[in-house]
């Protein structure tokens, strides 16, 4: 409205780029938009600095309590399901870091249901940025770094104490394991968010898969019934997060007797799950836009 004689609307708004280039640019644009929104949330959080420091510490301490429980258990026994304390620390640390990363990057996706109910979801749909990106960045909480750093600490302690003969290849394997695990958790988060287009209560179901699933993964598989382990491996491929790869890292046999190459499937499973979750999200969004409820 500033300059009425600005002439033709030249390059603004931007014209549609060709397909392939458009896709690449779209992905970059999505990342940029994610960064923009995250920066806004971080600044919002800093409006309450003291509260931020306290909740970050609280997050760090609360996720550590789980591990404290395991340590107390070990003050009475030497081994749990044949695993030593550092070995469990490795398992626990890897899962905790994976979950922490996924939680940090898109931990508030369960707000989709609430946004749908109070109608604020519509305001996301009129912006020139993918809705998934906006939802992922929604209420980004820097305090969640607490869980990640606590997980990393335990992981490092376990890695040193578990008697693994570390080589660069093994270190890379561990890093990939943690990142693939984070991607798998992320896929579950996205899938859970997608379900909320149908059922507003799906946030509860999703939590039982992620937070519940995470508690289970922090204990060695042999503690749980074989059937349950089988279910977790095949129904929710969360086991790829750390059980299967960590068993290789620790040089142990897998209680299910799966072939050796399965240990390396983490990234592929993560990718497949992300694709599936993305598809589910699209279907969910389309359903929302045709029903509006």
């Amino acid at each position: 409205m500033a300059d009425a004689q600005a002439g033709p609307r030249s390059a603004y708004p931007p014209p549609r780029p060709p397909e392939a280039l458009g896709r690449a640019r779209g992905a970059l644009g999505a990342l940029r938009a994610y960064g923009l929104i995250v920066a806004m949330w971080v600044r919002s959080t800093m409006a309450y600095r003291a509260s931020f420091l306290m909740t970050t510490f609280g997050n760090f301490a609360a996720s550590g309590l789980d591990f404290a429980a395991v340590m107390i258990m070990f003050s009475h026994i030497d081994r749990l399901g044949g695993f030593t304390l550092p070995e469990i620390a490795l398992l626990y640390g890897a899962t905790s870091t994976s979950l922490g990363l996924a939680d940090l990057v898109l931990g508030n996706m369960d707000r989709v249901g609430q946004r749908v109910r109070d109608g604020t979801f519509d305001t996301l749909l009129v912006r020139p940025v993918p809705v998934l990106v906006q939802v992922a960045a929604d209420r980004f909480a820097l305090r969640r770094v607490g869980r990640v750093s606590q997980g990393l600490l335990v992981l490092c302690w376990g890695a040193v104490g578990a008697g693994v003969a570390w080589t660069p290849a093994k270190a890379l394997f561990a890093a990939v394991m943690v990142i693939a695990g984070a991607a798998i958790f992320a896929a579950v988060f996205i899938g859970g968010a997608a379900f909320q287009f149908w059922s507003a209560d799906a946030a509860e179901v999703q939590s039982s898969f992620t937070y519940g699933g995470s508690t289970m993964l922090q204990y060695p598989p042999a503690v749980f019934a074989r059937e349950l382990v089988r279910g977790v491996t095949f129904v929710v491929p969360l086991a790829f997060v750390n059980w299967i790869p960590a068993l290789r890292l620790l040089g142990r046999d897998d209680p299910l007797g799966l072939p050796g190459w399965v240990d390396f499937c983490g990234p592929a499973v993560a990718l497949a799950m992300l694709l599936g979750a993305g598809l589910l999200w699209r279907v969910g969004l389309r359903n929302y836009r045709s029903t509006g409820s």
Binding site: A6, Y12, P14, P128
Partner: protein
Amino acid sequence: MSEEGFIELDGVEKVFDVRRKAGFLRRERHRVRAVDGIGFRVARGEMVGYIGPNGAGKSTTIKMLTGILTPSAGRLRVAGVDPSRERTRLAHRIGVVFGQRTTLWWDLPLRDSYGLVRRMYRVPEARYRSNLERCVELLDLGDLLDVPVRQLSLGQRMRGDIAAALLHDPEVLYLDEPTIGLDVVSKAKVRGFLREVNAERGTTVLLTTHDLTDIEQLCERVMVIDHGRLVHDGGLDALHTAGESERTLVVDLARALPPIEGVPGARTVKVEGPRQWLAFATGQSAAPIVAAVAERYPLVDLSVREPDIEDVIARMYAGGKGL
């Protein structure tokens, strides 16, 4: 795309499947036609009021025009683009203000929300600066830019929201209840601003409202929707004629008296102690009626009430006076 058909709707429908609990596991399904075959055209630069009772289909129409919802049937184009198919691309060209849902950042200064709009919409720096300057001047936002949004009053926040929707130079502006809950001063500022933007920039404006004054002061054309159908499309005067609307003169007399009689053009519709309500036609001036009452009755105080849009539409619909 022609300039006359900047916004085009042809036989647009939106049908919702509603499931209701009818037993332990049984769900009753029934279809609700929220929008039932609407067609209209809005030219570039027009300012149109879109009104109707709650649940008439106003918001559903706006949501289809912005691409939030996909129509069940019919053809819909905004600036030659199908909104539901190219929602993200169209977003650069439209501005939306949802009256009761702010898009501003609660804990951050107003300025920060605008900065995000600039980056998200990739508005060139120079254009952003001049647009912001103009908005600040017309909406009187100067002192508010560095105040966290949570500390703003409702009227200030609404002004802030309207500015946010215009920083990227949209060609169309949709406003859903932009003056709801605002005080008189804020309402006047918002209306003045919208007039200015429309005149200066040629921005097409479509607004829904419950406040007839918004329409009177802003729109030459008004569309009325009821039960998902367009029941009126034309000038405001025509709407009053079609709706046989009436203004109301409320008088406070010195004491309780029998209903006022013998005032030409007005009839007493309600008496409550010393207060009486007289209805008269919208086209008529209140002055002679006030004079006639004051001449024969002990008049203490008075006020004139404009017809309520809801009443006008309700009467219009009950009378079966479509289009």
